[in-house]
């Protein structure tokens, strides 16, 4: 009973540390339970793309699970420091290591019980809400949630293991406990950090370089490969600059005596100089985590919003019928089937376009076949599709445009080809016009390769090119064309389904429907967005909590310092101001850096999103703005709470 009492008392006494720890633990339990319940829910299992959605959720579960444990350990490390001195005291009073462990496991059991019980209850409550959101996002219509016992047991066991780890860390502490360490002075003086100008220069260089890459990258393909390079440079630069630049800036401030010897700056600058050294890596990590959260939100939102746009581009009409054997699809037959199934078709048109061929495109505009031995960079690869001017005129309703035998129009989807001539094999063609779009042509599936549509005077051009590009074999074949029939459709879902089924068995004909593609993509991007949202929210909450803990533990060690300052004549309002300006730096700096990173990453992210067929529009910028505002707001809340607690810790009564 004594042990239980001691265990409980220590929790109550250190509630400043325990409360946020338990809050974090509760949130982690709830989050894990929500994902588990989603995986088990009927609503998700009956989705059209249920297997890929569940896979996505599983992935989310793994990441969130890992993060929960890491975070639990991290927040607990602050508690551990407190415990260490407490245990030191107990052992001076004559307790043995065995007794301390007896207290420890009771404490962990109490922690575990509180955290899981509250976490499970909130998790169940929230999962209903989140299931609604999730099903809405992935486009399902079954909102049934079943509280699966398996999910609850999984979460309980998972966290039992987590708290076991904490207990192990306790035992480790007790094991190494020496009463001497308690008697050692806790605060040892530290030398003022030095300015490292060389590292500072390197940091600036890397940062500028990383930003420069992002700002100047012109093709989406390059963006993809350069992205990682830029990220690595910016990450290194962030750490370097947080560590060295902060010292340099603060020392410069200190050098300006007029500025430095003012009440508001004096204490803050001299404190920060020491604080930054301990906190630089932590702050750099926090700002990178925040950047990550922001990037995840912006990309997933862009994809969610962009998917509609993407599908619309891929489907100029509701239905695309394709005959791969290049035989015209009989309109009459289709109309007959429509009449049989009571669906109305409209805005029908034919389109003939070549299958893509792949080759190298040199910077001088020479397209060459792939040869087995040549090893060329992937960004020289290009797909070419051909379309006659006749077809082009039909699509654009301009019957007047003509091309001479050696003239072509070029349409580059990525917009990087700007040459005046393009050469296929040995034949040069004058590019009469660079088109920025061709209406009515379904855009291709998102792919990594550069691709162009060449509008040619007649099929003789493609006949000449022949099979040279397609295969390296002996048989010469002409480039093949496909015939497509595109139209809108009206009717009930059932009728549409029946109508589409009539073509299922037809030879060489494939039918693609916009709504079906849309619903598959929606469940994918919707799920992606949901997971992204949960990730980023937990990232942000986690970083906020980390800062809170850092500040609280600093407040404890700063107590003596502020006590001296007040004895020497610092007033309460001055203490408050100093605390605020110190804390605002610690909160503000990472978020400002994160926002800067995000802004500079945007050009590159936009290019990469293009690769996935997503064009970035105003919605994305609005989301970006809202996300930033949201993050700032969350941080501001934690900031207010932190500076208040900090002030309470350090303020004297008189």
């Amino acid at each position: 009973m004594l042990y239980w009492k001691l265990a409980w008392q220590s929790i109550v006494k250190n509630k400043l540390e325990y409360l946020p720890f338990m809050l974090a633990g509760t949130a982690a339990v709830a989050l894990n339970l929500v994902i588990q319940l989603l995986i088990y829910s009927k609503g998700v299992q009956t989705l059209r793309a249920s297997s890929s959605v569940i896979e996505l959720l599983m992935f989310g579960q793994v990441v969130i699970g890992l993060l929960s444990v890491i975070f639990l350990l991290y927040t607990y490390s602050f508690l551990n420091k407190r415990k260490q001195s407490e245990f030191g005291l107990f052992s001076i009073l004559g307790m043995q290591k065995r007794d301390l462990i007896k207290i420890s496991w009771r404490q962990q059991l109490i922690n575990y019980m509180i955290v899981t019980v509250i976490g499970l209850v909130t998790g169940v409550l929230f999962s209903k809400l989140l299931l609604l959101l999730f099903i809405k996002l992935v486009g399902g219509n079954n909102f049934q949630l079943n509280i699966a016992l398996g999910a609850i047991i999984f979460v309980m066991i998972f966290f039992a293991l987590g708290f076991m780890l904490l207990l192990l860390s306790d035992i480790w502490v007790v094991w190494r406990l020496k009463t001497i360490s308690l008697l050692q002075a806790s605060q040892k003086g530290e030398r003022e950090p030095k300015s490292h100008w060389l590292l500072f220069g390197l940091g600036i260089l890397l940062l500028a370089w990383g930003y420069y890459i992002s700002l100047t990258v012109d093709s989406p393909l390059k963006a993809m490969t350069m992205f990682f390079l830029a990220v690595i440079m910016v990450v290194i630069a962030t750490y370097l600059l947080f560590i060295v630049a902060s010292t340099i800036v603060l020392k410069t401030m200190k050098g300006h005596t007029n500025y430095y010897y003012q009440t508001d700056h004096f204490i803050t600058v001299s404190n920060m100089l020491f604080r930054m050294r301990q906190n630089a890596t932590g702050l750099a990590s926090i700002s990178l985590l925040t950047t990550m959260a922001l990037v995840v939100i912006v990309t997933t939102v862009s994809m969610l919003v962009g998917q509609q746009d993407y599908v619309n581009k891929q489907f100029p009409r509701d239905i695309i019928m394709t005959n791969v054997a290049n035989k015209s699809i009989s309109e009459n037959k289709v109309k007959q089937a429509a009449a049989d199934n009571d669906v109305a078709l409209s805005k029908m048109y034919h389109m003939e376009i070549s299958n893509p061929i792949t080759g190298y495109l040199t910077s001088s505009g020479h397209a060459m076949p792939l040869s087995g031995t040549a090893v060329t960079r992937a960004d020289n690869l290009s797909d070419f599709l051909f379309m006659t001017i006749q077809q082009f005129n039909q699509l654009t309703n301009q019957h007047c445009e003509t091309l001479a035998a050696n003239e072509v129009y070029a349409y580059d989807r990525q917009g990087t080809f700007k040459n005046n001539t393009i050469k296929f094999l040995n034949q040069s063609y004058h590019v009469k016009k660079h088109l920025s779009k061709i209406d009515g042509v379904p855009s291709m599936q998102a792919s990594m390769t550069h691709s162009m549509i060449i509008v040619i005077p007649s099929k003789t051009v493609t006949d000449k090119i022949g099979s040279a590009f397609n295969d390296l074999g002996e048989n010469k074949q002409s480039i093949s064309y496909t015939n497509q029939l595109l139209f809108d459709i009206k009717g009930s879902d059932k009728q549409k389904d029946k109508f589409l089924k009539t073509f299922k068995g037809e030879q060489n004909i494939t039918v693609d429907s916009k709504s079906e593609t849309m619903s598959v993509l929606k469940s994918f991007y919707g799920g992606f967005f949901f997971i992204g949202l949960i990730f980023s929210i937990s990232f942000i909450m986690a970083t906020g909590l980390i800062i809170y803990y850092k500040q609280i533990s600093e407040g404890r060690s700063d107590k003596k310092q502020f006590d001296i300052l007040q004895k020497v004549g610092m007033s309460h309002s001055e203490v408050k101001r100093t605390v605020k300006s110190q804390v605002v730096w610690v909160f503000g700096l990472p978020i400002v850096v994160a926002i800067a990173h995000l802004c500079f990453a945007m050009p590159m992210m936009i290019k990469i999103l293009q690769l996935f067929g997503v064009t970035v529009g105003p919605v994305v910028y609005t989301t970006m703005g809202l996300t930033i505002a949201g993050v700032v707001l969350i941080y501001f809340g934690i900031y207010l709470k932190t500076s208040k607690t900090y002030f309470k810790q350090v303020a004297r009564k008189y």
Partner: protein
């Protein structure tokens, strides 16, 4: 001229439970003339620190008045307390209380910066540093100093604002005898140039440097000794006699 006047000072500490009050000071009365050097002696737990903290406005008395320059310190509002403290009072503590994050120079400037009186701070600093013998330490940090050096820096910080009175709570308590003697001779030197000093100590040797010694017991001033024209040796013997009589020599 009377600089400080303490009348019927009473301080009770209330415990968590109502009946659990500790009377640290029962009824303290005494006056300090400008230019005096006073030592207050008493057993551990006799309320010396409590008395000094009340005078220093670091604690509020339960009843009674403390007049400094005809101003009642117990009536000061919370807002003016801090500024009063830094404009009129100087402190030296047993454990020095220097800021680890600041150089010696900045530690001494601290009260001036807080009071926004940084005008000719460097002249003041250099004059003090020379008197205290810490010219070569100005760019060092507290952890690089010995105890005696730290206490000298603390004296510099206490005196840079030209306080009406210098208060010391066992200023030699954490020092060896050589350093303690040096600090006491500095006190004496400043007192000779008219600095009023009020020091709390339980060391007879330290008290023997003062011009007057007050003895505190049972929360009251029990006895006092004027130096008159005694030399240090004679003063020490007188103090020791008095403590044996008052406290049974248990100090």
């Amino acid at each position: 001229m009377t600089l400080l006047k303490v009348e019927h000072l009473k301080k009770e500490y209330r415990g968590k439970f109502k009946n659990n009050t500790v009377t640290a000071l029962a009824d303290v009365n005494f006056e300090v003339e400008a230019g005096e050097f006073i030592a207050i002696m008493g057993e551990s737990g006799s309320g010396k620190s409590t008395l000094l903290n009340c005078i220093a406005t670091l604690d509020k008395p339960t009843t009674g008045t403390i007049m400094l320059n005809d101003e009642d310190l117990t009536n000061l509002s919370d807002k003016t307390l801090a500024s009063y403290r830094r404009d009129h009072l100087g402190f030296v503590f047993q454990d020095f209380n220097l800021l680890d994050t600041m150089s010696v120079r900045d530690n001494i400037y601290l009260p001036l910066v807080l009071a926004k009186r940084t005008k000719d701070k460097s002249e003041k600093l250099h004059r003090l540093a020379e008197q205290l013998g810490i010219q070569d330490l100005l760019n060092k940090y507290p952890y690089e100093l010995s105890g005696g050096q730290m206490q000298r820096v603390a004296i510099g910080r206490a005196l840079i604002t030209n306080p009406d009175i210098l208060l010391g709570d066992e200023p030699t308590g954490a020092l060896d005898s050589k350093n303690a003697a040096e600090i006491l001779s500095l006190f004496r030197k400043y007192n000779e140039s008219n600095q009023t000093i009020l020091m709390v100590t339980h060391s007879a040797l330290a008290a023997s440097c003062a011009k007057r010694v007050l003895f505190i017991k049972d929360g009251m001033v029990f006895h006092q000794i004027y130096r008159g024209n005694r030399n240090d040796q004679e003063m020490l013997i007188t103090i020791n006699d008095a403590t044996t009589n008052l406290f049974g020599g248990a100090m």
